[in-house]
């Protein structure tokens, strides 16, 4: 089955993360190539799984355009990871820097892990009538390519904020180290949760860590999270030093942050908002209806519009704008996952 192939790709992404960490610590060029190689093999297996799933969809739907596997939460998460890793490999090749590989493989690992832990169905499902439209392809693919661009912008922006913050007490420093710490905690928790799965159907995220039924383990996990945050806060400058040793400076980080948004924003506008509106107009008889998904897309759009305009305001250059890029991606995650998990609306195809 296709999802088993994609799970293997996910496993390889997760393995790529420690390889990148070792590379950053040892500075051995060969290990860096090993990390990139792992991501490349992961992408190839992922693409194979994607094509396999396409075939499975085609057997049900018998339509080429409508068989692209992006029709539910599982498929879209997986497609997002594919775009993210491919996008990162392009950035790595273009700028010749491997430093972001850690965080990118980490995000990819978390996303693939979530498909196991959110209890989403991985089976190929037949399309409901509302999804039978050629706009599906244009709307969803462009949205997720944009999300992936925002993710890359987020990674660079996060490092940029960290690198340019003045001291440990500054908001920028605390924000960036806390997010980093939480991400590392999340991936560990996801791995542990996946390893301790007992019942595939009733599985929940953090079931073994923060939400463990044993109070002792739960408290231990919360303390671990706080410890992570403390460690990153205390030794955050080590990360900055390592980045600088790899000639990743603030200018480069700012540029990648900007490029990610400059690429993602128009794609998000056309794919997410405009194509979404046209499709909604044809399917539901209104182009805009303040549905939670639509509203949060607009909020995401405003945050990134804020980023682009802030660049014009005097005194807003540098890391201040990168904070917006970081917040922008957090809002993007909410638009994508949070709305499906917490708010109800018409975009229920992406629900559990």
């Amino acid at each position: 089955m296709s999802y088993q192939i994609i799970s293997i790709a996910g496993l390889i992404y997760i393995i790529a993360m420690p390889i990148y960490i070792i590379y950053l610590l040892t500075k051995k060029e060969k290990i860096g190539y090993l990390g990139t190689g792992a991501l490349c093999i992961g992408v190839l297996i992922h693409l194979f799984g994607f094509i396999q799933r396409f075939r499975e969809m085609y057997e049900i739907n018998h339509s080429f355009i409508r068989s692209i596997p992006i029709t539910n939460l599982y498929e879209s998460l997986v497609f997002f990871v594919l775009c993210l890793v491919l996008g990162y490999l392009i950035v790595e090749w273009k700028y010749g820097k491997k430093g972001f590989g850690v965080i990118v493989s980490l995000i990819a690992g978390i996303a693939i892990g979530l498909t196991e832990l959110l209890g989403v169905t991985k089976e190929v499902q037949p399309l409901v009538p509302a999804l039978k439209s050629n706009w599906l392809l244009a709307h969803v693919t462009l949205s997720f390519i944009a999300y992936a661009a925002f993710a890359i912008s987020f990674v660079a922006g996060l490092f940029h904020v960290l690198m340019t913050s003045e001291n440990r007490k500054s908001f920028k420093y605390i924000l960036s180290t806390t997010i980093l710490a939480f991400m590392f905690f999340l991936i560990l928790s996801v791995i542990i949760d996946m390893a301790t799965v007992e019942n595939q159907k009733s599985i929940k995220i953090f079931h073994f860590t923060l939400g463990n039924s044993s109070l002792f383990v739960a408290i231990l996990s919360w303390s671990a999270l706080l410890a992570f945050i403390f460690v990153f806060w205390r030794w955050g400058e080590v990360i900055v030093r390592i980045l600088k040793e790899f000639k990743i400076d603030a200018n480069l980080l700012e540029e990648i942050t900007y490029k990610g948004i400059a690429f993602g924003f128009p794609l998000f506008t056309i794919g997410g908002l405009v194509f979404g509106a046209i499709w909604a107009d044809q399917a539901w008889g209104r182009y805009w209806g303040w549905d939670p998904k639509e509203t949060w897309s607009l909020i995401t759009w405003f945050v990134y519009a804020f980023y682009l305009h802030a660049k014009f305001i005097r005194g807003w250059s540098g890391s201040k704008t990168s904070v917006i890029a970081v917040v922008g991606f957090l809002v993007t995650i909410f638009t994508y996952l949070g709305v499906n998990l917490f708010l109800s609306g018409l975009h229920s195809y992406g629900s559990m």
Partner: protein, 471 residues
């Protein structure tokens, strides 16, 4: 003095509305307001809203919160006066900002380029200096390289040396104003839709016609034509309750006569494929089960090999099976017949997933009963011949969404402008280089902040070429 003060105030107000700061403030405020609207339930009855808050707070607090919420229209954010006001400010900001800046930009295209002073050049964020050994034809070589890269080049003689100005894609700066204009177009479209359009729905029972719409506000809007639903059908995926497609076969009737649309008198309406008539657009939205008097069970009696005799009966109506003395009637119907764990029959839903009829045969007083299922051919065999159950006609209604919105062309046009504007302004950024050639010393300046690393890379390429050809 007073006049001067007034002018000063006017200017202040103008600058306020033209500022990026206002734009940024509006981005934040509108976002927050919109976010509130996704958390607090919108457009519900007061009781339902209070019930929502009582999930988190005590009853007394919930009542107080509800008071505040309804005072500030927080349960109807997107249609509240203050949200409309914010959007209006947003539009005003866009207009004033464009009027403020566009003329200067246009003027800069019309005026002839002039040599810049060293003070201006030195203040630019990017500077790169190099000393060359070969200084012959430096100006010509550099112009040639820049021109081959698509730049337009102007040359000036200044006291500090020869000044080269290279420009590329400088007109793409206009695209920002196209983007801003497109948002105004979209907002205009939305305004037109709010004032001159409406939305509503009509539920037409299979086999009947309707000549009015129920608007979303609950008003009845008469039509000057009728819509007849001749047939409605739902297809399901095999062995599944997931609908694959549903469609209505509609006729537009003017004075009881069908109107031809695209050369046909029947319109097939499906999800994602709306159709328009008389300034209104109709969408296939929903469907439902509603048994009525005029509903009829449609059978086909499969006589020997080829002869098929259609039979139509109403509920409990007795009909003779062809060429026999046997009477049969439908005494029960199930849209979705299922069998529970103990082997009992039960009805799963009102969706026609697995339609079945309980038929009673009366052979001169000898009565027998049998379930006939549409989807299972084995059940068509009866003691008196093969009787296929085709459908129950007239027991479902089709739910149509109806809309009139004169703003839609504006929305589409604005969307196209928005995309074009964004792509041009973000992918084709203007690039400017200023070069001072002073004997063997060449200094490059660039005023562009965004994409500094890329520009440095391009500059290095240019320098490499200059050096390579200089050798």
């Amino acid at each position: 003095m007073a006049k001067w003060k007034l002018e000063n105030l006017n200017e202040k107000i103008w600058n306020f509305f033209a500022s990026v700061d206002l734009a940024v403030a509006l981005f934040i405020v509108i976002s927050l307001a919109a976010a509130i609207g996704t958390v607090i339930p919108q457009q519900l009855e007061p009781e339902a809203t209070i019930r929502f808050f009582s999930k988190f707070f005590s009853m007394d607090t919930s009542l107080k919160i509800h008071e505040i919420v309804s005072l500030l229209d927080l349960n109807n954010v997107y249609h509240s006066w203050w949200f409309t006001f914010l959007l209006f400010m947003f539009a005003l900001n866009l207009v004033v900002c464009s009027i403020d800046r566009l003329p200067n930009l246009l003027k800069s295209y019309r005026t002839l380029p002039q040599a810049l002073s060293m003070k201006v050049l030195e203040s630019m964020p990017l500077k790169k200096q190099l000393i060359l050994s070969d200084i012959s034809h430096l100006k010509e070589k550099l112009s040639e390289i820049l021109k081959r890269k698509g730049f337009s080049v102007n040359v000036f003689d200044t006291p500090e040396g020869i000044q080269l100005q290279a420009k590329k894609w400088s007109k793409t700066r206009l695209a920002v104003y196209l983007t801003h204009f497109s948002i105004i177009v979209i907002l205009t479209g939305a305004l037109l839709g709010t004032f001159f359009g409406f939305r509503g729905h009509m539920n037409i029972l299979e086999g009947t016609a309707l000549d009015f719409i129920i608007s979303d506000e609950g008003k009845t809007i008469p039509l000057d034509f009728q819509i007849l639903c001749e047939k409605f059908e739902v297809e399901y995926y095999e062995n599944s309750a997931v609908p694959k497609a549903f469609r209505s076969y509609l006729k537009i009737l003017q004075k009881d006569k069908p109107v031809m649309i695209n050369g046909k008198d029947t319109v097939i309406l499906e999800v994602n494929e709306p159709f328009s008539y008389g300034g209104l657009t109709f969408y296939q939205a929903s469907y439902g089960f509603q048994p009525t008097e005029h509903a009829e069970f449609r059978f086909t009696f499969l006589h020997e090999q080829d002869r098929k005799i259609p039979i139509r009966v109403k509920f409990e109506e007795k009909v003779r099976i062809p060429n026999s003395a046997v009477l049969f009637s439908v005494i029960d119907f199930s849209p979705a017949l299922g069998i529970d764990e103990e082997g009992r029959l039960f009805n799963m839903t009102t969706d026609m997933i697995n339609p079945a009829v309980l038929v009673e045969f009366d052979n001169q007083g000898k009565k027998t009963q049998q379930w006939i299922l549409k989807k299972i051919p084995q059940t068509w065999d009866t003691p008196y011949g093969k009787l296929r159950f085709d459908e129950l006609w007239g027991a479902q209604f089709t739910g149509l969404q109806v809309r009139k919105d004169p703003g839609v062309p504006f929305i589409y046009f604005g969307s196209i402008l928005l995309c074009v504007g964004l792509f041009v302004s973000l992918f084709l950024r203007p690039i400017n280089y200023f070069v001072i050639i002073d004997k063997n010393k060449v200094t490059f300046y660039s005023p562009t902040l965004k994409g500094k690393v890329t520009i440095e890379k391009q500059l290095e390429e240019i320098i490499k070429k200059l050096k390579g050809e200089g050798k």
